[in-house]
Each structure stands twice: as structure tokens, then as C-alpha cells.
């Protein structure tokens, strides 16, 4: 492990890089309670997190992402499966012997210790020499720009400052893996956005593997090297942000990560790598298929609002009529009736809109590019 803060960024771990994965999960399951009241928080989760990766667990509350993080930290005992840290099984290792540290959602700073004592806590427990502790504490406080407040008590800090101290405290022992449990959720929007870039920066500087838990898709997309989208105790898809956003594996991922239009459709044919689908209203559209073969529960066509093209009436793939508008400042959401059960939502950037403001009732042409349309399992 390189010492944190030395600016010794190692080369990014490439796909299939050498050495064991930072964290490998093998069929990890967690069940709370017993019998009829049993709740399955994790149902056979298996994947690997690479060394030096900014990895995000994304999902709605109750999807199992926090349970998984706590199982890696050692606060929860997995009911089944194996958790490997750099190749070593840590399932039976107690939390205080695991070389991983956590940034807690509400910071969990020790209120009776100063900022410096909080940051030094882990190093003292590891019985490092006092000189080294002092140097490392100073380096960590510098990394999070909190040197000036080293002698304050946590009660005298703002939320953003507590956040930084919590980060410094967890980074100080130079853990092999840093776990972050929704660390930005208690901050206000501006601070949250600033902290995103800073976290990303710190990850790159220290070279420590970050596992970041969040329910905020924007946070996940903006910071991560890879994202695992979770729902109902299962991993729905793992991939880089662009892949998750552009090519969601199923309807859940498409709907959770960003806005999405779904049109029920059945496959009627295939031509040159595209599928031809028919909607209940009789539209026949060409679309790309999802990476994984659509399952049995019916299929839907999926398109992002910003990928819906709007042209003058008569020039589109489909004819439509504006039903409603939603002004968002930088963009406007346009609900378009195309004869289906649900209206299609398109988004147009305000910069491009110019003087040609649309009004409810306007007729227009809708372009549904086969490259932007995808067939997903329902």
C-alpha cells in the first residue's frame, strides 16, 4: 500500500489487471429474521471490485447496498457466501481486524475527542509510533483542508467540516479499501457537488479503492469508475457510468438511472442486428436489443427523453401533439401524445429552443432513432 497523501498515484487498474481483486464477493446472502418473517436483504451477490477503483453501489433504499457495505466492514455477518479482500477470506475476521475503514453516513465522530484525536484514533489502535502518527494526522488534515481546525471538538464544526474530518479519520490508517456509506447525503446541494470532485480527486491521489454507497444516480454517474446497480438484494447491472446510462440491462436500471420513456412492445421481426417491434397502438419501430436477452415478463421499448428528436410536423417517424410542458430552467420537458397509453416525454435544451417556444396542442414530428431505442425486459 502506498502511503496516502504522497501523491503517488499508481496507474489505474485496467480491465483484468494483474493481482487479485480488491474485494471479491461470492454468492453473498444475508437474511434477517427467521421463518415467515425472514427478510432477504442480499440474495446471492457475486462480483469483483478492482484495486484502485472508485466503485459505487447504487440503488433505492432497502436494495441491500448498505447491508453489503456493512458486511464488507464486518458490522454484519453474511448468512452465506464468501467475502475476499485481496484474495483472503475475511468472513470470520472481526471488524476491528479488517484493513478497511468506513466513512459513516452521519460521520460518527467521537464527540469527546478533538479533530486531531479523531484522526489519530485508528493509528493509535494500530500502535504506530507517535512521530509517525503526528505526521500522518497532519498529512490527512492537509489532504481534506482542515489543518486550521485540528484542536476543535466535533460539536464546533459544520456539517461539511465534519464530513472532511470523517474522511481524514478513515483515510489515516491507509486502509486497503475505504467504504463510504452515503457520506454526502446530509450535505446541502452546492457542498455535495463540490465534495464529489474532491472525493474523486482524493481517490486518485491516494490510490485507495473506494466503495461508495448512494441512492443518488447523479452522484454515482459523476464519480465512479464502475457502478453496480442494486435492487431487491440483487445486482441488476455492473459497468462504467456511460454503459449503465446508455445501455441499461433491464427496465429497473433504465428507470432508476436517469429519466426514461417506456413503451410496451412485442417483437415482430429482426433485421441486421435490430429488432422490429409493434406497440399496442400499432406503431412499428426498429430498436437495438438489450445486452442481456429479454426475459419472459413482456418487453418494453426504452428511450431517454433527450434522445427523442423533435422536428416539424410531417417529417418525423411518428406524428405527435404537445400535451404539456414542464419548465426546468436549462431545459424543458415536453409531454407528447403519440397515440400510446402514456405520453412520450422529450427534453429540449433551452439554448436550442430560441424563440420557437412550444405550446400545448402544437403538432410536431417525433424522430425515434433505432440507435436510441432499446428493447428491454419488462
Amino acid at each position: 500500500m502506498t502511503t496516502a497523501g504522497a501523491g503517488a498515484a499508481r496507474p489505474r487498474a485496467g480491465a483484468g489487471g494483474a493481482g487479485p481483486a480488491a474485494v471479491a464477493l461470492r454468492d453473498v446472502a444475508k437474511t434477517y429474521g427467521r421463518g415467515a418473517h425472514a427478510v432477504e436483504a442480499l440474495r446471492g451477490v457475486s462480483f469483483e471490485i478492482r484495486d484502485n477503483e472508485f466503485f459505487t453501489l447504487l440503488g433505492p433504499s432497502g436494495c441491500g447496498k448498505t447491508t453489503l457495505l456493512r458486511a464488507i466492514a464486518g458490522f454484519e455477518q453474511a448468512s452465506a457466501g464468501a467475502i475476499l479482500l485481496f484474495g483472503a477470506d475475511i468472513v470470520d475476521v472481526p471488524a476491528h481486524r479488517r484493513p478497511v475503514n468506513t466513512v459513516f453516513q452521519h460521520y460518527a465522530l467521537f464527540p469527546h475527542m478533538t479533530v486531531a484525536a479523531n484522526v489519530a484514533f485508528g493509528l493509535r489502535r494500530l500502535r504506530r509510533p507517535e512521530g509517525e502518527i503526528a505526521r500522518q494526522v497532519a498529512a490527512m488534515l492537509a489532504l481534506v483542508k482542515m489543518e486550521a481546525l485540528a484542536d476543535r471538538l466535533p460539536g464546533q464544526l459544520s456539517g461539511g467540516q465534519k464530513q472532511r474530518v470523517a474522511l481524514a479519520r478513515a483515510l489515516a490508517p491507509a486502509p486497503k479499501v475505504l467504504l463510504l456509506d452515503e457520506p454526502l447525503s446530509a450535505l446541502d446541494l452546492k457542498l455535495r457537488q463540490a465534495m464529489r470532485q474532491e472525493l474523486k480527486q482524493i481517490q486518485a491521489t491516494t490510490g485507495i479503492t473506494f466503495i461508495f454507497v448512494t441512492h443518488d444516480q447523479e452522484e454515482a454517474l459523476s464519480m465512479s469508475d464502475r457502478i453496480a446497480v442494486m435492487s431487491e438484494g440483487r445486482v441488476q447491472q455492473i459497468g462504467p457510468p456511460a454503459e449503465i446510462y446508455e445501455h441499461p440491462a433491464n427496465r429497473f436500471v433504465a428507470g432508476f438511472v436517469g429519466d426514461a420513456n417506456f413503451i410496451p412492445a412485442t417483437v415482430v421481426g429482426e433485421e441486421g442486428g435490430r429488432v422490429r417491434c409493434r406497440t399496442p397502438a400499432g406503431l412499428v419501430l426498429a430498436a437495438g436489443a438489450a445486452p442481456s436477452p429479454p426475459g419472459g415478463r413482456g418487453t418494453v421499448l426504452f428511450v431517454r427523453p433527450e434522445k427523442v428528436g423533435l422536428v416539424p410536423a410531417g417529417q418525423g417517424t411518428v406524428e405527435g401533439r404537445v400535451r404539456g410542458l414542464q419548465y426546468l430552467g436549462d431545459a424543458v420537458l415536453i409531454e407528447i401524445d403519440i397515440g400510446e397509453a402514456l405520453p412520450l416525454v422529450a427534453s429540449e435544451r433551452m439554448a436550442r429552443l430560441g424563440q420557437a417556444a412550444r405550446r400545448p396542442g402544437d403538432r410536431l414530428g417525433v424522430v425515434l432513432d433505432p440507435a436510441a431505442l432499446q428493447l428491454l425486459a419488462g
Partner: protein, 275 residues
């Protein structure tokens, strides 16, 4: 300003129930006037209790010079300190098990058992302890008194400790473990320091309860093991002199100081503001 003046509004509820003011005044007079009189007459120069002849601190000097009183006060202190120490440790352990040990079969029953002595009439406990001690032939002198005091001090020590623990965030303990602290280190460095206000409050409460106890001590204490309250009672039987007032006043002062400290400790203290 359009609405009613705040001052007028605030004053109204007091007068709404007729006679409440009188009742409250009566309550205050009957509760505190005797105590005020007791303290005032401890400074009386004369030896007849209710006849004021002049200011003097002679009776305090007399009380301090009285070897029996000194012995009784010493006994009281020994009993209170020992009983408090034991009761606080036991209560802390009990509170830790009940608040942090997870749910176990009978945990509700244990909680009930710990709090039960608060509900049992003291005279019943007193007689029961006396009968029990003589039944098993236990004769440790002051030790008997200490054992009896520990039993009724535990629930008093337990309550503030348990309340403090319930209000404490368990993620702090998890954070300590995450930062390589063993269970013992977590307890020593995080749980106990944050629990300390509760522990001190519990200790003070049990110290006051032990110092003031009369009924149980009266039953259990042997001839040479007299505590201050029991000694005061025996003095009264020989006629009340201002010396009784002086001793009582000292006891009152000790109690007030400790209860005041307890009050501050449960209100403010390091670690009250979490998150």
C-alpha cells in the same frame, strides 16, 4: 401590536383555577418552612429548640466534637461510598447488557427485577433483609448495612445510566471498531467516556439515597454500626437540642450539593450533542 400583550397572556393561566395560588403557597410553606426553621435554629445560641436567644455556631462545634456523631458520620460515609461504588458498577454492567447485549430471553423480566426495589415498600425490604440476615447467620457488622444499601441503591444508579446509554449512538462504537479498537478498547475509549455523565449521575443519586436511608439501616445496623440518620433519631428520643438541628443541616447540605451536581450532570456534559 394587534394581539394581546404577551405579559398579560402569560399571567392569566395562574389565576384561572381559583385557590391554586393559595394551595401552592400552602404546599411550599408546609414542605420548606420546617426545613428553613430547622436550619435557622441550628444557629441558635440557647439550648431550647424553639426559643431564639441569639446567633451562634456553638452547636456545630459541639456536634463536631461529639465522638459518637463523628463515628456515625464516618459509618455513614463508609456505607455510602462502598455501597455506591458497588451499586454503580453493578448498575453499569446491567445497563450495558440490557442496552447493548442484544435481546435475550427474559431481558424484559431482568429490567423489571432491577426496577422492583423502587416499588417495594421500604419497611418490607427492611424486615425481609433483617430476617434473611439473621436466618443465614450473616454478621459482618457494617458489612450487613453495606449489602442492604447496595440492593436498594442499584435501581437508583441504574436509571440514569440506562437513559444515557439509550440515547447514545451505537455507530460511534462501530466507528471505533472500524478503526481497529478491540471490544475492550471501544468500551474504554468511547463507550465509557460518553457514558460517564450517566455513571456519575447514577453514583450521586445512589450516594444520596444511601446517606439518607433510615428504615433499612435502623433494622440491619448492629449496636456499633450506627449511621448518621439512625443516630439523629436516637438523639431525638433524648430530647431535641440544636445539636440535632446542626447535624441535620450538615446532612441536608451534603444532599443538596450532590443533587445539584446530579442535576447539572444530566443536563449538560461532553457528548450530549451528537451528530
Amino acid at each position: 401590536m394587534t394581539g394581546p400583550r404577551p405579559a398579560a397572556r402569560r399571567r392569566r393561566p395562574f389565576g384561572e383555577v381559583p385557590g391554586l395560588g393559595t394551595l401552592a403557597a400552602g404546599f411550599l410553606v408546609f414542605l420548606y418552612a420546617p426545613i428553613a426553621v430547622l436550619v435557622a435554629y441550628s444557629f441558635n445560641a440557647g439550648s431550647i429548640v424553639m426559643v431564639w436567644t441569639g446567633f451562634s455556631t456553638d452547636w456545630y462545634a459541639r456536634a463536631f466534637a461529639n465522638a459518637d456523631i463523628r463515628q456515625a458520620a464516618f459509618n455513614s460515609l463508609v456505607v455510602a461510598v462502598t455501597a455506591t461504588a458497588i451499586a454503580t458498577v453493578v448498575a453499569t454492567l446491567a445497563a450495558l447488557v440490557l442496552a447493548r447485549g442484544g435481546r435475550f430471553r427474559g431481558s424484559e423480566a431482568v429490567l423489571g427485577l432491577i426496577s422492583l426495589p423502587l416499588m417495594v415498600p421500604e419497611i418490607v425490604t427492611a424486615v425481609a433483609v433483617l430476617v434473611f440476615f439473621s436466618g443465614i447467620g450473616l454478621n459482618l457488622g457494617l458489612g450487613n448495612v453495606v449489602i442492604a444499601h447496595v440492593t436498594f441503591c442499584i435501581p437508583f444508579a441504574f436509571m440514569p445510566i440506562r437513559a444515557r446509554l439509550d440515547g447514545m449512538d451505537t455507530t460511534l462504537e462501530q466507528a471505533a471498531q472500524d478503526l481497529y479498537a478491540s471490544e475492550w478498547a471501544t468500551f474504554r475509549l468511547v463507550t465509557l467516556p460518553l457514558l460517564m455523565p450517566g455513571v456519575l449521575a447514577g453514583a450521586m443519586l445512589s450516594f444520596v439515597i444511601s446517606m439518607d436511608d433510615f428504615i433499612i439501616t435502623m433494622m440491619v445496623a448492629g449496636a456499633g454500626d450506627t449511621t448518621l440518620p439512625v443516630y439523629i433519631y436516637s438523639m431525638i428520643r433524648h430530647g431535641i437540642t440544636p445539636e440535632v438541628n446542626a447535624v441535620s443541616s450538615i446532612l441536608l447540605l451534603v444532599s443538596i450539593v450532590l443533587v445539584t451536581l446530579y442535576w447539572f450532570m444530566t443536563r449538560t456534559g461532553p457528548g450530549t450533542a451528537r451528530r
